[in-house]
């Protein structure tokens, strides 16, 4: 199999570590549930292609990674936060060697997992897949926990990039923050097939109308037509004030998900950003905060 025929040029592939030879020459994120496999397969030359490694089992013994002389950034992928969060202490010694991120799904125990991971100085990626009302309340509490707690050192995504994007008026989409943009990330199955990282409800051209086959057309028209095509499928996005940040992210995987559930989170982040900008303006003007 020639992966170059199946993945977008320059894309980062999420591959099982044992398939590294098959994907030499690609930028890779390699994963395994077994920490022993990383030292076993990541040897020799050409390892600069590795962006980071992903350990997908937090019940595993971290000592092979602690003892490993080679250091890569590590992403620890939680699947059941309510069960796995206490395990973070066992993995904390990895922080003495290099950067470690915890990827945490929005699921039972997420709030505890995020609080503990942040308290241990792990960086964090929260994966907010179509949260329910209660989960959105938890996300709002966690956003405040992150934004207002001076002892939290490391970024908590997606809050961090979204917040700074809003503050700086620089659009960054949730797809990009969460490493799910189809044009940039590909997923390699355990048997070596490359599939889209997600079954994204919108196409790459729709998400990024400035690129692709429509790049020679008038950008504004393209943006309009691209959005319109999405809107035809995802009616709620037509009037959505957060479209440019979201680009239909919360319509994945169930297009009938009601985004009204996540609006309070966006509203909260926008209000916090406004408060922050106001504080900055007062600080710069010398006025009392």
């Amino acid at each position: 199999m020639n992966p170059t025929n199946h993945s977008p040029a320059g894309a980062i592939l999420f591959s099982p570590v044992h398939l590294i030879e098959q994907f030499r020459g690609h930028r890779l994120v390699v994963r395994s549930s077994d920490p022993h496999r990383f030292p076993k397969y990541l040897k020799g030359d050409g390892l600069e292609q590795i962006e980071y490694i992903q350990l997908t089992d937090l019940e595993a013994d971290p000592s092979p990674l602690v003892k490993w002389k080679t250091v890569f950034p590590i992403d620890l992928v939680m699947t059941v936060p309510v069960r796995e969060y206490p395990r973070l202490y066992a993995f904390a010694p990895l922080l003495d060697r290099g950067p470690v991120r915890i990827s945490i799904p929005v699921a039972e125990g997420m709030e505890k997992a995020v609080r503990l991971a942040a308290s241990l100085d792990f960086s964090i990626k929260i994966i907010p897949q179509q949260p329910d009302v209660d989960q959105v309340k938890q996300l709002i509490r966690l956003a405040d926990f992150y934004l207002r707690n001076p002892t939290i050192e490391e970024p908590i995504e997606f809050f961090h990039s979204l917040f700074l994007g809003i503050v700086n008026s620089e659009v960054i989409t949730l797809w990009e923050i969460l490493e799910k943009t189809p044009a940039r990330y590909g997923f390699v199955t355990d048997d070596g097939r490359i599939v889209d990282s997600q079954h994204c409800p919108i196409t790459d051209a729709e998400m990024n109308p400035e690129t692709g086959s429509e790049k020679n057309s008038d950008t504004a028209t393209i943006r309009h037509s691209s959005r319109q095509r999405v809107m035809n499928r995802l009616k709620e996005c037509v009037v959505c004030p957060y479209w440019q940040w979201c680009r239909g992210f919360f319509k994945y995987p169930a297009p009938d998900y009601s985004c009204a559930k996540v609006f309070p989170l966006f509203q909260h982040l926008f209000a916090a950003a406004a408060e922050f900008k106001n504080d900055l303006a007062e600080l710069n003007s010398g006025a009392p905060a």
Binding site: V66, K67, K69, V71, F72, P73, Y85, P86, R87, L88, Y89, A90, A92, P93, D96, R97, G98, K112, R115, L116, A118, S119, L120, D121, F145, Y146, L147, R148, N149, P150, T151, I152, E153, H160, F163, L164, V167, A272, E275, F276, D279, L280, L283
Partner: protein, 387 residues
């Protein structure tokens, strides 16, 4: 990628449990023979091998006791040289720290203190002194003897830092009298306060521990205010408040072991007979919590890996966040449930949080507000400005 320098391993090194003091709150089971110089290469060789496995390059050796100055200066110098040679052959860096009550100090100690400890001594004084005694003496004459010895040591250029343990009498005397005693009477500009606990054999004094956490917290916050008003800008340092201040100001800091994420990750203690334990609070008085003996196996890693007692320490913070309310605490990241010996000596349960939790909360909140008032944050974490 080039990994960051890993944090040092800290060895609490007890070459002797002989002591010339008889402090009523001491947690050690004292006595016995000192460590033999002959075994030092084996001990430190195993420690350095263990560090190799963990990719750790620096060892901090905290010389405690017992009382180090009950050994001979020659013994300490020879030990320092032996450790240096072993470290050199293992390509490890070693930094030594001395904790001494100074009773046995004389000029004969200067070569060892200079060569091994870099002319720095950590010592201990209380105010008012209720419980520290020279063996056969009374609390009344401890501080005068200490001050005489400290002055001798300072005359030759040694830096002396002090640990102080508050008592109910300290709380009654108040923060102002306490601060003045150390800075004016003793001329100490670098001191640290530790909270007392009932470690080791029970007695009348320890029956009064822990101190009232709220009262202790109030005392600490008052002391912080006095220090910030009078001493901070003059270079006076009071631990752990100085490190907390830096923590809340987002500056480099080193919090004391009681607030490490897991003291079992970076600390180990060795007894004169080779017993291994979490720290000096455990090794002599709680044999059931020993991790093993360094002479029982070729590999320290194997000894520690097989130790059920060490696993209990490693698991403690995870137990605490599941069983206690710490997971919802805004200061979890700088406390992690506090000190194991303070928890265990209070209720006999290692998985309890530190009984001084209310003290810490009061101090953390107060220090955070102090930091906010005097902060000139550089904005590297812009979002923190939203308060």
């Amino acid at each position: 990628m080039i990994p960051p320098p890993p944090p040092p391993l800290s060895l609490i090194f007890l070459p002797t449990l002989q002591c010339d003091a008889d402090c009523e709150y001491c947690f050690e089971k004292k006595g016995g023979s000192p460590l033999s110089l002959d075994v030092l290469p084996e001990i430190f060789g195993k420690i350095f091998d263990f560090m190799d496995e963990r990719n750790t390059h620096e060892l901090h050796v905290h010389w405690q006791g017992g009382e180090i100055l009950t050994l001979s200066p020659e013994w300490v110098e020879d030990a320092g040289e032996s450790i240096r040679r072993t470290a050199e052959s293992h390509r490890k860096q070693v930094t030594h720290f001395l904790q001494s009550n100074l009773i046995g100090y004389s000029r004969y100690w200067e070569p060892a203190i200079t060569t091994i400890f870099g002319k720095s001594i950590g010592s201990s004084v209380d105010y008012p002194n209720c419980h520290r005694k020279v063996k056969g003496g009374s609390p009344d004459n401890f501080n005068p003897i200490w001050l005489e010895k400290a002055d001798m040591a300072r005359c030759t250029g040694n830096h002396i830092g002090v640990i102080s343990i508050p008592s109910t009498k300290t709380l009654e005397a108040g923060a102002e009298a306490f601060y003045d005693y150390f800075t004016k009477r003793l001329g100490i500009t670098d001191f640290q306060l530790n909270s007392p606990f009932a470690g080791g054999p029970a007695n009348r004094v320890k029956a009064g521990y822990p101190l009232d956490p709220e009262q202790l917290g109030l005392f600490f916050t008052q002391l912080i205010d006095i220090w910030m008003a009078r001493g901070y800008d003059q270079g006076v340092r009071i631990g752990p408040f100085d490190q907390l201040l830096q923590c809340f100001r987002d500056e480099p800091h080193l919090l004391p072991c009681i607030w490490h994420r897991n003291c079992a990750d970076h600390f180990i203690c060795i007894h004169p007979e080779g017993h291994l334990a979490q720290c000096d609070c455990w090794v002599s008085s709680y044999p059931q919590f020993r991790f093993g003996n360094i002479f029982q196996d070729e590999s320290l890693s194997a000894i520690l890996g097989a130790s059920a007692a060490r696993k209990r320490f490693l698991d403690r913070p995870a137990d605490i966040v599941q069983k206690q309310d710490c997971i919802n605490c805004e200061f979890l990241g700088i406390c992690h449930g506090g000190c194991p010996i303070r928890a265990y000596s209070f209720r006999g349960n290692l998985s309890d949080k530190d009984p001084y939790c209310p003290t810490y909360l009061k101090v953390f909140r107060h220090m955070r507000s102090v930091a906010a008032r005097c902060s000139t944050k550089n904005g590297s974490r812009q979002v923190e400005s939203i308060k």
